[in-house]
Each structure stands twice: as structure tokens, then as C-alpha cells.
Symmetry: C2
DNA sequence: TTGACAAGTGACCTTTCGTTCACTATAATG
DNA sequence: CATTATAGTGAACGAAAGGTCACTTGTCAA
């Protein structure tokens, strides 16, 4: 039962930190949201900062597990249309999975305060997606689906606009549908521009 | 002298809010940074929240003045090389002007809490740049510098990656030089892809 | 010169924060 | 069965927060 509560504290912390930030969150509310009294959480973490650090540890580990290793690379699409489908599938997950959304929000809010949050933010928002699609595009060029080009530059040009719209969804969730449509339109535009003729 | 202090309070607030966020800033420190004692600022603003609202008012007005009207549109570049030069000039200002940097940071930190900050954030981070370059690209297509294409889509594809690197500069200022170089490389890549042949 | 007012001070108030601690209930262990 | 560790309670604490107020000072208009 101990481990359960310790986990639940981190879940609640992610939720509250992602909404109000670290400084804007108090231990009383956090405990209350778990049906605990304030002092109860101090049985599991010695301080508010310890909760924050444990949460960051978890986020860092999660990222390394799920996005850091080459194992979890999606298979290279075998058509241009499949690239759009793959993209939409990934974006759908990332925008609708509450835990991922909250993780991005927390990193957004704490990136200027905590060096580890800053580092992870850059991975989440920039280099992670770019690296991933660099590999994908390399594969697609080998298959003759994309024109020969600097795959890293293409990956950057492809993922940065998508990332911008994901941020928009985090900020204004009511615009999610619109943003998803724009991502799909952008993906098709990208394919038209960079796709090898005959594969459209 | 009154107006001077009232202004200086907003300047100090921008600085502190951009570093520690609204919740992470206390009025005592804010006053001290102006050589005032806490109660002094309450002669000018009735509460911490009033300071925040006045700062937001100012940021919104500033944005409307400087980026909202069509007056301040840069002249349409008359060559592809000039597009890159214009871009680098604009990025240089936006990344090195401390006040603009702090404004972006504040909007980043408060976008999930304050609806007006949210709205302004979307303008700063997404639609503002896109709208601006939609006009620029329209002009460049009329001049025969860019291939006929959806100018809004092109503007989005151009500005979003640049915006992502500006965010990187805000987050990790030590990477500014690297990011600037990447922006320039991206701009030249973009020109190669979308520029009308014979104008390279 | 005087009166009024804006700007700033320092003491104080209330609330809320993070944290501690003596204590209880529970459940596993010897 | 006795014991001991664990999870949780509730009262309390000191520090720090936002905010108020009576008071002083300096400036300027009448």
C-alpha cells in the first residue's frame, strides 16, 4: 500500500504542477486531492521539492524508455500516404493522452527554473521529434519515397510546425480539431514538395 | 515622478514574472529591486494582481502597436537572398532584445492560467509570424520570386521552425549562436525548395 | 505662507505556506 | 500473542506571503 500512495502522490503532483506550476501548487491541496491530510504525504516524501525531483526523475526515465532508445522507432512508412497516417496517429496519441499533455505543460512551466526540466523540454519540444524523423526520412530516401536531401533538415522542417500546433492544442484545447486538420494539411503539403514523383 | 515609479514597477514585474512566474514572485522582492519598501508599491497598484493585469494590458497594447497593424509590415524582399537577410535581422532583434525575451517568457509561464495571456501567446508564438509572412510571401509571389503556392501554408512552414529555435534560445541562451546558424541554414534551404528558379 | 496632495516608510495584521511531531490504527513479523 | 514497522491523523509552529494604515516628507498651487 505504501508504494501505491507514493505513486499516486506523483500522479497528483503532475496534475497540479501542470496546471498551476510548482510555485503555484500547495501541499494541502495536493494531499486533499488524494483524500489525505497534509502531513500524510510527508510520510512518503520529505519535502515538496523532493516530490518535484521524484516527478522529474520519473519523467526523465519515462522519456528515455519510450523515446530515447532506437527500439521504439516506428517502422519506416512504405508510401507517402503512410507517412501522413503515421504522423496523424502519433499526433493523436500525444495530444489526447492526458499524461503526456500534462508532462509537456509541466516542462513548459518549469523550463526556466530547473536545469533538468530545461534539458528534457528541449528533447520533448525539439530534438526528440527531429532525431526520430531524421531516421524515418533517411529510410524513406533509401526506399526512393523522398527526394535525396539532408534528412535532418527535412525532419526539422517537418516536425517543428507540427510541434507548434501541438503546443497550440496544449494552450487552447478547443482548437484541437482545427489544429489536427492543419497538421494533416501540412503533412500533405510536405509530401507534395519533398516526395519523389510517382509516389504521390 | 509618480508615473515614473508606476512604469518602473511594471518593468520590475516583467523581469521577475518572466524569471519566477506570477506565483513565484513576491511583492517584497519586487519592491526591493526598485529600492522601495513593500507598501510603497501599493500606492501605485492596489494589489499584486493589479500589477499583473496592468503588465498584460501593456504587453497587449505593445503587440497591437508594433505587430498588429499593417503599417509595420517590413517591405517585401526583392530577392531570395534579401528574404534571408530580413529574417536574420528580425530574429536577431527578437532574440537579443531583453524586453521581448522577457515578454515571451512571461507568456510561456502564464499561458495556462490567464486567458488573455493565452491569447497573446498564440499570437506571439504562432499566428503573428504566420500572418506577417503570409503577406510577405504573397508579395514575393507577385514579384515572381517564389513559386505560386498557398502563401499561408508557406508562411506556416517557414515561421514555425524559426519560432521553435527562438524558443530554444529563450530556454537555453548559451545555444543562441548555434540556433541562429540553424535558422539561417533553414532559410537558405527553404529558398532552394520554394524559390523560383533563376533567382537563387 | 499655508494647505493639499502624492510618494514613500515602517509597524502591524491576517492568511497561508511548508514542515514537524506526538499519537492512533492497521497489518505483517517474530 | 506480543512486537514492530508503516500509513495516516490533527494540532501546532515559524516563516513568509499579500495587504492595511497611521505617519512623514517633499512639492507645488493658491
Amino acid at each position: 500500500m505504501a508504494k501505491d500512495t507514493k505513486e499516486r502522490i506523483l500522479e497528483a503532483a503532475l496534475e497540479m504542477f501542470s496546471q498551476n506550476g510548482y510555485a503555484g501548487t500547495n501541499v494541502r491541496e495536493l494531499s486533499a486531492s488524494l483524500g489525505l491530510v497534509k502531513s500524510g504525504v510527508y510520510k512518503h516524501y520529505e519535502s515538496k521539492e523532493a516530490i518535484w525531483n521524484a516527478l522529474l526523475d520519473q519523467m526523465i526515465a519515462y522519456y528515455a524508455d519510450h523515446f530515447g532508445s532506437a527500439d521504439h522507432l516506428p517502422t519506416v512508412p512504405d508510401s507517402l500516404e503512410a507517412l501522413t497516417r503515421l504522423t496523424m496517429r502519433m499526433v493523436n496519441v500525444t495530444v489526447h493522452d492526458e499524461k503526456i499533455v500534462m508532462t509537456r505543460k509541466v516542462l513548459t512551466l518549469e523550463q526556466f527554473r530547473d536545469p533538468r526540466a530545461r534539458e528534457l523540454a528541449t528533447k520533448h519540444f525539439l530534438t526528440g521529434l527531429t532525431d526520430m524523423f531524421t531516421r524515418i526520412f533517411t529510410g524513406m530516401m533509401e526506399k526512393g519515397l523522398l527526394r535525396e536531401n539532408d534528412p535532418a533538415m527535412l525532419a526539422f522542417a517537418y516536425t517543428a510546425p507540427i510541434s507548434a500546433l501541438i503546443h497550440l492544442c496544449d494552450r487552447e484545447p478547443e482548437k484541437t480539431d482545427e489544429a489536427m486538420a492543419q497538421i494533416e494539411a501540412f503533412s500533405r503539403h510536405f509530401i507534395k514538395v519533398y516526395g519523389e514523383d510517382g509516389h504521390e
